[in-house]
Amino acid sequence: MNNYDAIVIGAGHNGLVNACYLARADLKTLVLERNPYIGGASVTRELYPGFSYTNCSYVCSLFRPEIFRQLELSRHGLQVIPYDGGCTFTQDGNYLATYNDHEAQRREFARFSARDAEAYDDYATDVMRHCRFIKPWLLRTPPDPVSRKAKDIKGLWQLYKDLQVLTEAQIYDTLEFYTISCGDYLNRYFESDVIKGHISNSSIIGTGLGPYSPGSAYVLLHHYMGEVDGRIGSWGVARGGMGAIANALASSFKASQGEIKTDCSVENLIVKEGKAVGVALENGDEYYADTIVSNLDVKRTFLKVVDKQHLPQDFVTQVQQFKIRGSSGKLNIALDGMPTFPALPEGSTAIRGHVNIIDSMERLERGYDDWKNGTWSKDPFVDLLIPTQTDPTMVPPGKQMMSVFVQYAPPVLNTGEWTEEDKQAFGQTVIDAIAQYSPDFKDLILHAEIRTPQDIENEAGLTQGNIFHGELTLDQLLFNRPIPGYAQYRSPIPGFYMCGSSTHPGGGVMGAPGANAAREILADKRMTV
């Protein structure tokens, strides 16, 4: 009854992707999810009557098209709707709009600086080159630099070859790009504070870095890596919210005879004779399989679910040292109607996309200083999106839902744990900040869900509320992710694997960790995807 070929702990999108591939290889696969709903941080929830909140992640762009096709997600109901628009409001009442179309964007930049408009061509070309460099690596297993195995040497050789197709100058640019600060990088191209502020807004999402921190430039790629309808760099919303991705994955999984059980919190990994053989739930139930995969972040996996005695001491220390400071919060707001933004001209489509209110790198950096100091940004970065303009099915007719991603917010305050008062004050800071650009916004609020990093940890199970299951700095990337020597989805315990965002290539609703882990698991079983 309780015996399976494979068990996946956690029904986050990576757990589901992983389970889909295992089930497609005819393994009898069970997914166990702690919450009463699936999706993890890729979820849609009705928290106010009639309103569906896409209450963690809110836009789809990183999801690998290969996985989308292979798992037939279209057929299973997933629809990603691209949208145009977006803007940054400036403090002097102006705005800088975002366009998917390169020419339109260039003309928009020219309103702020003719020189920058020209530099934008170079900038876009260079960033796209960096995107193309990294993209094939998303669905590859990181090679182990100390190994002498053929596949690892091949992997390192591939890295070398990828570099060698570039010109000498481009090689140096690439090395620099992955280590330099966003500030230094943008200074090379642009002079306008507003333009630099606008672009740098995507260099800090989910990080514990400011735009002046070395290593923040490459985070810009997150913004440009998106792929909707094969168009590099554009974003889309999933019809029905991000939960639609989880639902389509679940449907695909079930079509391959997979089984999902919710309200099943895994408490313990059962290890016999050094091998993973099953899991024990909080309620005492046990399930058995010789392949167990964890979708949880590396800290939850090895410090909570696995008993220390089964792990090398050195490994445990390194898991303890894994950096997973959260920096983001979220507000999900039910609105009685569409708020107005007087800075925008009548009929502007800018409001359909991401709306930012930080118009310089300095303001962004000061927000980061607050976070380092153990408090939320008093002049917060917000990435505001009203997806119901594109997908009205999520709310009652005439109403809107606003998703507000906020930085920076620390997992613990310098005064201690977040209290209810702190949380309300945090929410108010954000609401006030938005209201500066929309006078009728406050009056339209029907309900607001405020989520601190602590809430994100408590509800979605992301340790410290880190949206990427671990910081994305060089020491935690590629063969270092999550732990040097364990970057190929295997753990120190035979039969026990990792498939969550703590593994390469990291967080975001991308599906790549889940797919890569499945490939390694099946390789161990001498099977292929």
């Binding site: 060698q164 090395l175 620099e176 090379r188 950096e365 380092k372 060089l474 020491d475 020597g485």
Partner: protein, 522 residues
């Protein structure tokens, strides 16, 4: 003095002097032209108040590359040291302290409250890091290899580095590849439980840069500096007569080899025809001819002013002008009419290099304001009392205090003209907390903001390393891609200053590597 040379070196900083020595030894006819009245650049001693002398730029010697003495025929034994193996005393506002030695086998000497475990944490950390810093040390005397289109030499360097990495045991290689991209704050946090120990490591990493300890890539800075410090048998030291005596020794060695050194000779233009160097022209109009010119001045001064944008591709002009070179460190020299109250009730305090840095977060906070072109109100300090070791620097019974203040902007938001006096007063006020009574003991103060350092030492921005340093600007990325082999796009023009690999501090390594490059080029 004839006006025809094999090689002209612009600038008599330590790197220029090292370079001159090595080239002259190989029979080249070398002329060194220095804008200032004295040789040494930032390695110089001068009087700042009647009867009081100070090392006006660098004030401690800890980084001379071990090959330098031999290559330059400077006998270390002939340099008289006022003190060697100077220890470092790190203190906080509660007068807690640790005191550690630098150089080979750094150890905690004494402390207010460290446990035995914490004492050995220190030594363990140094031992662990030595393995990693040795890799950087091996690179310090190499020309950074080109990663494509390279020469056999470039591939040899790459291959040997790869080999060295492969020779590490697996565990160490994994750790190296992890920590090299980390920030020093987290590494210190992983390695120590004591706040002062963490602060010491963070302070040493950040010195001379604008980066706070939480900035990624700062472990590289620490390792890079440490790689040379732990090769110093003398640890931290100061020559008698201040750092200027060191420069003087290298200048004398050059003179003996027949090098001509001309001070008060500011080069205004590098003369070029058909992209080939022909010589230089001084601000007074005088010309000197040579087919090879090596600049110890920073890359911006060299390329954008002496060569001039009209002689280089716009792309290269852009690349050079974006190198961040705003200085980050101010210096204050105080003439005191008496010695101050010791901090740890131990007079030997003043023989130490004193670091005021209560904890790593304090340093991080201090780094915040420079990002917005302001100075911090809660600064950290590095302080020495050179006259305690070397009484020749001050009148009898009186003393000199030399203070480094990290995270001070090159341009103040409101302009230094408006702000300098307030800055000076603020710093003295802060020093008063650490050394009660200092106010009353001050006879004279000299404050050098990075802008003053720029003016006095002819360095763009007045930057410690002639430009920011970190993993994002190391090896082939230093000072910027295309210039990393000490060569420039102009035939016969080379660079040899601190903006080149492996960077600043009194190491002489850029000068040494540049000389080797010049010797190898046709």
């Amino acid at each position: 003095m004839s006006n025809q040379y094999d090689i002209i070196i612009i600038g008599a900083g330590l790197n220029g002097l090292v370079c001159a020595n090595i080239l002259a030894k190989k029979g080249r006819k070398v002329l060194v032209l220095e804008a200032n009245k004295q040789v040494g650049g930032l390695a110089n001693t001068r009087e700042f108040a009647s009867g009081f002398k100070v090392s006006a730029g660098a004030h401690l010697l800890y980084g001379l590359h071990p090959d330098i003495y031999r290559l330059c025929d400077v006998q270390e034994s002939k340099i008289e040291f006022a003190d060697k193996n100077i220890s470092t005393l790190v203190i906080n506002q509660n007068k807690e302290f640790i005191n550690y030695s630098s150089g080979e086998d750094s150890q905690i000497i004494y402390s207010s409250s460290l446990s035995e475990q914490q004492n050995s944490d220190w030594s363990n950390f140094q031992n662990r890091m030595k393995t990693f810093s040795d890799i950087l040390f091996d690179l310090a005397n190499k020309t950074p290899p080109r990663l494509k289109n390279g020469s056999i030499q470039d591939y040899k360097t790459l291959f040997n580095t790869g080999l060295k990495l492969k020779r590490l045991d697996k565990q160490n290689l994994r750790q190296f590849l992890r920590i090299i991209g980390m920030n020093i704050y987290d590494l210190a946090d992983e390695s120590f439980t004591d706040n002062l120990q963490k602060a010491a490591i963070c302070f040493e990493s950040a010195l001379g840069t604008r980066l706070g300890p939480r900035a990624p890539n700062t472990v590289y800075n620490w390792l890079n500096r440490y790689s040379i410090i732990n090769r110093q048998p003398a640890g931290l030291s100061v020559p008698r007569g201040g750092i200027g005596s060191l420069s003087q020794a290298f200048a004398n060695a050059a003179l003996i080899k027949g090098v001509d050194i001309s001070v008060s000779s500011r080069v205004e233009k590098i003369l070029i025809a058909d992209n080939q160097v022909k010589g230089v022209q001084l601000s007074g109009g005088e010309k000197f001819a040579a087919r090879q010119v090596i600049s110890n001045a920073d890359i911006k001064k060299t390329m954008l002013s002496m060569v001039g944008p009209e002689n280089i591709d716009t792309d290269v002009v852009r690349r050079v002008s974006y190198i961040p070179m705003q200085g980050t460190t101010a210096k204050m020299h105080l003439a005191l009419n008496q010695l101050l109250e010791p901090i740890t009730h131990n007079v030997s305090d003043f023989q130490s290099r004193i670091i005021y840095a209560p904890d790593a977060d304090f340093i991080e906070r201090a780094s915040n304001s420079i990002k917005y072109n302001q100075y911090t109100h809660e600064p950290t300090f590095e302080i020495t009392f050179p006259s305690v070791q070397d009484s020749s620097l001050a009148p009898a019974g009186k003393h000199v205090m030399s203070v480094l203040i990290p995270y001070v902007p090159y341009e103040h938001k409101e302009g230094w003209a408006q702000r300098k006096e307030r800055f000076e007063n603020h710093i003295i006020e802060q020093l008063e907390y650490i050394f009660p009574g200092i106010h009353a003991a001050i006879e004279h103060v000299e404050t050098l903001t990075p802008a003053d350092i720029e003016r006095q030492f002819n360095i763009t921005g007045g930057h410690w390393h002639h430009g920011e340093i970190g993993l994002e600007r190391f090896m082939m990325l230093r000072p910027t891609a295309g210039f990393a082999q000490y060569k420039t796009p102009i035939d016969g023009l080379f660079l040899c200053g601190a903006d080149c690999h492996p960077g600043g501090d009194l190491s002489g390594a850029p000068g040494m590597n540049a000389a080797n490059t010049v010797l190898q080029s046709k």
